[in-house]
Amino acid sequence: MNYPDITLTIVAVALYFLGLVVIAAEITFKRENLEKIWQVSVGCGIGFQTAALVARGILAQQVPLTDLFEYTLVFTWALALIFFLLFRKHFPKQASLVLLITITLLMGISFLYYTDPKGVTMPALRSFWLYVHVSLAALGETFFAIAFVTSIVDLVRWAKAKDGNLGELTYRAISMGFPLFTAGALVAGAIWAKKAWGSYWSWDPKEVLSLVVWLVYAAYLHARLVKGFKGRALAIISIVGFLLTLFTIFGSLILGGLHSYS
């Protein structure tokens, strides 16, 4: 059955794709007057994605956070929204382009995991802690994605001109995401695990990978704040951190374990 959530998501992806094509044209042809077009396109994309989430929530009769498709939809929506509201003005065009490529790719991948919104939700997922755990973790990962984008652009600039200047933005994004990720992925996750499975920590692949992600970003913060690291080394840690984050999100489908449904 063709539900409205999928149609609205496709429209949103198309609008993000249009936005990235316009930014690419703006960069390639050095046209300044295209900025409004891609901003309107991305803004409309966010609107359609919001509608897709609302439609899915109504169809499923719950907040859409229970499987990988819904998680990716919420994650990319938050990424687009936070970029649009907080970082758009501070981002160079190249970073906006990389961010839209990331969003479009992730949303493209999410279609592989599309599920019937009226399908069964496991009773274990019917918990208040689902919303705390998943939404905070997704929000934290959103900021890690922003840091990933600025780090990529920084690395390219280092390679080209031996000069990157987005380190401060990367740090700001990670310092915003790290407490959210700590509270959501680790703390709320462990408390929910205790309520659902009887143990705070089970060495489940997704738990372990979340710990690895946390350690990588903790290392980033220590390297910057205590040891005063700057430049490429920090950008590389940020990129590794987000690649591991993606592996944590999608890896549980391959690795199985207690989180194999999400």
């Binding site: 009226k118 069964v120 009773p123 009887g198 372990v208 350690l215 290392a219 890896g251």
Partner: protein, 433 residues
């Protein structure tokens, strides 16, 4: 003493701490990717004899239970604890109310500084400055020396303790983890519905749990909604209590939690039968009715059962098999005296009995874990979202009876946000110029 200092230096070294973190992260990644605790042959088949043997030699088939992983975790926690101790005096010193800066030159060395002439006398200027700062949640102290007034203000001084709190949380989590590992208990009770089991609560009270019912709940469209296990618990202090154990809703009593782990249907031993009821003329009376297994009586047992149950419990009179459908004649004790008998029951299907797995968990270190999690969350938020801001003012009278105000400020992080705040303070004061 020098040796101890050297050891303390190594243990509190950020560089070594980072290396330990990376090693733990690497081993955890390996443990997350390679299936853990599988049989030996699995690794030899999955990864080939060479690599598989290497994995087994390095104990990577059970990374999280190896001695070296435990040692790394303990070493990491000790390092974190030592770092916390090292940082505490620094945090206390930095969090103290700022020393008054009495020289204008000192203010000019701050990252953000300004000078204004206000159209009010120094006392009014001081009151205005204090008011502006207090409205921005600064803690303010003033001091007058000769004709000059010194104002120093700070905000979010406690954020200096964020890093200490964060490090301390690890120590609490480690203590909690060790307490659970050493004194914790986990046991699975596999109980057939209708049977019971015992567990011992924290104060030695024995609790008997009678599993009365288990059901899978569905919504109107037949979609799975919930698993519900109804139990009656009885104990000396508890008395009798009824609980519904569901996913996310364990039974908790006396430091012990009982979780619904799984369930299994046992078709070989039905708990009862779903049947349709027809009267003697063959007309359907009730389409579906559940006949409990206790009331199921084989033909050869009829007489004995009837004698026992007359006037009390409905009893199956006769059972026979006819092709795929089993049908049996039924007669209740009450109806036995009426003329409308016999009533015929047609079997729809046998309902399997259910065996539920209930997990008994006792985790005595929980208080440390909860405290650790609270401090971990609080520590990260305080140390990354808040910044310790300080502003100093020197107010002195001018020859025209006005006030000259010099001020400067600094923040340990979020300097852009502080710059914006500094500018707003300046703009507010400027209204008096």
């Amino acid at each position: 003493m020098a040796f101890l200092r050297k050891i303390f230096g190594v243990v509190t070294s950020t560089k070594i701490g980072l290396i330990v973190m990376i090693v733990i992260a690497g081993l955890s990644l390996i443990g997350g990717v390679i299936p853990q605790n599988a049989p030996r042959d699995f690794y030899l088949q999955q990864y080939g004899p060479g690599f598989g043997k290497l994995l087994l030699t390095l104990e990577l088939d059970h990374v999280f239970r190896t001695n070296y992983y435990s040692i790394l975790l303990i070493a990491f926690s000790l390092m974190v604890f030592a770092c916390a101790l090292k940082r505490l005096p620094v945090a206390i010193r930095l969090a103290r109310r700022p020393e008054p800066l009495t020289e204008i030159e000192q203010l000019r060395k701050q990252p953000f500084k300004a000078s204004l002439i206000l159209d009010v006398d120094p006392e009014e200027a001081r009151l205005h400055i204090v008011d502006v700062l207090k409205r921005r949640f600064y803690k303010v102290a003033t001091k007058a020396v000769d004709s000059r007034t010194y104002v120093q203000a700070s905000k979010n001084a406690f954020s200096r303790y964020g890093s200490f709190i964060l490090h301390l949380s690890f120590v609490l989590l480690l203590i909690g983890g060790l307490a659970i590992a050493r004194f914790g208990r986990e046991r699975i009770h596999e109980v057939r519905v209708g049977n019971s089991f015992d567990f011992v609560a924290a104060r030695g009270e024995t609790i008997n749990v009678d599993v009365e019912d288990f059901r899978v709940e569905t919504d109107n469209e037949g979609r799975l909604r919930d698993y519900i296990c109804e139990v009656e618990a009885a104990g000396k202090d508890l008395g009798r209590a009824w609980y519904r154990i569901r996913p996310n809703h364990p039974l908790g009593y006396g430091g012990v939690d009982i979780y619904l782990e799984s369930y299994e249907e046992d078709a070989e031993n039905p708990s009862g039968f779903l049947v349709s009821v027809y009267d003697s003329s063959g007309e359907l009376i009730v389409p579906h009715v559940f006949v409990p297994r206790d009331d199921y009586v084989r033909v050869d047992e009829i007489d004995a059962t009837l004698k026992a149950d007359v006037g009390v419990v409905p009893t199956i009179r006769e059972i026979s098999d006819a092709g795929v459908t089993t049908h049996f004649i039924y007669q209740s004790a009450e109806e036995a005296s009426s003329d409308s008998l016999p009533i015929r029951f047609v079997l729809i299907h046998a309902i399997p009995s259910v065996i539920v797995s209930l997990k008994e968990v006792r985790q005595p270190g929980q208080v440390f874990i909860i405290a650790g999690f609270t401090l971990l969350t609080f520590g990260t938020i305080v140390s990354l979202y808040l910044s310790h801001r300080k502003i100093w003012f020197i107010v002195e009278p001018t020859s025209e009876g006005r006030s000259q105000v010099h001020f400067g400020g600094r923040s340990n992080r979020h300097t852009r946000a502080f710059e914006a705040e500094f500018e707003r303070v300046k703009a507010t004061l400027d209204e008096l110029s």
